[in-house]
Assembly symmetry: C2
Homo-oligomer: 497 residues x 2
Amino acid sequence: MILRVKDTTVATGGPLIGIVNLLDAEKLDLHPMDRIKVVKGKQEETIVVDIAATELIVPEGWIGLNREVTEILKVKTGDKVGIVLARKPLSIDYIKKKLDGHVLIKKEFEQIVWDIVHNKLSEAEITYFVAACYTNNLTDAETVMLTKAMVSQGDKLKLDKYPIMDKHCIGGVAGNRTTMIIVPIVGAAGLTIPKTSSRSITSPAGTADTMEVLANVKLSLQRMTEVVKRVGCCIVWGGSLNLAPADDKIIKVERPLSIDAESQLIASIISKKLSVCSTHILLDIPCGKGAKIKHLKSAQILKHHFEELAKKLGIKVRVVITDGSQPVGNGIGPALEARDVLWILKNDERGPLDLKEKSLSLAGQLLEMGGKARRYKGYQMAKQILESGRAYEKMKEIIHAQGERIKEPDQIPISKFHFTIKSKVKGKVTSINNEAVTKVARVAGAPQSMSAGLYLHKHVGDHVARRDKLVTVYAKCDEKLKYAKDLCKEIELMTIS
Amino acid sequence: MILRVKDTTVATGGPLIGIVNLLDAEKLDLHPMDRIKVVKGKQEETIVVDIAATELIVPEGWIGLNREVTEILKVKTGDKVGIVLARKPLSIDYIKKKLDGHVLIKKEFEQIVWDIVHNKLSEAEITYFVAACYTNNLTDAETVMLTKAMVSQGDKLKLDKYPIMDKHCIGGVAGNRTTMIIVPIVGAAGLTIPKTSSRSITSPAGTADTMEVLANVKLSLQRMTEVVKRVGCCIVWGGSLNLAPADDKIIKVERPLSIDAESQLIASIISKKLSVCSTHILLDIPCGKGAKIKHLKSAQILKHHFEELAKKLGIKVRVVITDGSQPVGNGIGPALEARDVLWILKNDERGPLDLKEKSLSLAGQLLEMGGKARRYKGYQMAKQILESGRAYEKMKEIIHAQGERIKEPDQIPISKFHFTIKSKVKGKVTSINNEAVTKVARVAGAPQSMSAGLYLHKHVGDHVARRDKLVTVYAKCDEKLKYAKDLCKEIELMTIS
């Protein structure tokens, strides 16, 4: 059948879709989500069918193609294309198999991941895969196969080095910018650590957002390689690299229900690490109210599964369960966090002690794993590197290599729209509400506005006098400041008793 | 935030969707599948957000709205609308709960069904619901709640009668047009039977397609009510009525993986019957190779669940498991099946005996259930009604009331493009391949072309001489005849040995 192209000008960012009129669909006995092959000269592409019931959308004799398809086939509105029936991707059968509770084999995972990466599956089909992995769970062997398949269907950082260090934090705790202190320490010790970080999705800042205050983080894989070869380390945004791209599409369908199948979470984290060829990974699981992992039991199960998987993949993993009950550091939001980090690296007394201690402890573990320090001696070595100023020197090298913006903490612009909450009582801080802190910082404008966020003057356990400063909120503009103020009347950031 | 409307001219037939530019999304901290309320004057509607990464699709300051949304809000390209954040539908939490393996309560099913009917859920979200019902299954009590929720969110046929008879066949067997013989028999006996039927999705004809050869089947609920009040019965297409509309949207996301959760299947069938207020339902489960239900064990489990559910809903159900190993009747395809039906109703000797016997047996059961015949006397009564000509008279009344097309079997046009397959050997028919029969009939043009299909000259168990006619294929046109011929060389319709 020959149809004329109508460019819908819509890009789904996902499945390749063609919309045909009901009358043409009947001629070919097509149904929604069937597959057809669209042919234009020597170009051809198999796409998912949707059906238009009225002339208005797609008239008889025409086929509506989304942007992804018109770009692949290099066609425009009015062009003629050939249509032939195609069979559904093989992975549909494998997804059904998993949904029925069976165990999948290597080539089945590879096919599913390939089809996801190449936009061959509709959103509903990917959703069935995620739902199946969630309710029927994957065995450790299956998680290994899924992880490897995700890595193989993406780009890889190639470095001729051993060991290659890495770290990851499961997240959910505001502040907690340990990466930006650990990487320069570990790098200064001579270890290779090509760190990729994410941007914030629901938090006030991701490490990539905070690092972006100081340096360019959008590097190509080639430039990242050059930086790591020269400096030994980097802190870049993982999203601009094509590492394990299936993962991003899986995360997209997980969001509506906030589903996080444990096996998917593990495969997601490890696949990103394997894509940069990491051999030694330190995993930080903050645990507590407000963190992603709320109970020690769940943290321990997750730790166990990570360790099992690492063994099967032949990589070294250390998992530490840390306190996730309150924010780490004083600043929350890109600029305020970046300032904390530089103060610590410069041994300025304004640097928050909790963030410094946590970073030293984690960096120490990495120094031990990488063979630079003997067991139980890592912390001391990390402290010595930090306090000698070598870590700050390394950070300046990183900033310079990636594309410098700022390297002095007191040059970082913080918003002038601010207000401070003071204590009405005398007492002791008994808790800080992680979720409330996140919400206020985001309403104030973080992370889209780098200079917005909040500053915690007190931490859990601190003594408080009447009229002591508790929190200062920095907003993007006057309007956002008002919203943040209103919000602070409704929710309690700190409990004092 | 105020945005200008861009009418995407795309109708999804499902969720209400608005596409905003990434830059606007960041301002409101919006993510794909978040909800926003779009306000235009006094009209407002909550819709699902998708995000465009480039200017090309939706520029900053604009919002792309699909056809469903522009129609509800009565807006056109260039209009200004207000955007405010809205929370996700409650049903998202309930779907998550089901996915986690918990039992849902009445109001949770009601909310889910309401949101599905009102296009409040994205395809991925409905898919999670179906996947959850599939892998975690529903209890009988849950199936009852889901069924009732589906009925309450749709239109209902209101008749002041008791009993109201109904029948349903699980399907998968070609031919098998018992409804068009049973309804006139049961109607002639004075029982009320307001039958709604479906069109073919993957078969050569649905009952609605075959009935459409003889009469109009697209009736409004009001006209259907008038017909049933006057004639006592009808045979109409259920798709033009708004009965349990959630079901159609659920079936749409089930198709890609051919998922048929048993609880969904039961809820789907029973909800359509309760929407026409049926009190006595006869359920036919054809069982055998090529039918939807392949094994006797599965048929028995399904029978048991139907009976349990009926008890809980206070309706009378009889379930019969019939032979589904071969097609029923001789004609396959709308016109050929309609001719078989009228031959039987007119007691013409050309009427296929297997279809007649099966119909009499099922009609007899309904006569017993409805109190017209004593136990074991139904078949005799049905036979007497059919052979006396009263069933044919009733059928003529139905055809006349719905909008007459044809009432004489020999006036039905059958395609002139045909070829006949003859036996190359002497022997006995040992099997007929249901799936192959369906495929050949559809390639020949059925059901879009009413006059296409095939005619079986022999059934399983019949003796065959060399050069005896086995099957005649009728195609829409010469080209389709050629395709059908080619297909018949590849697949075997009948096995003779």
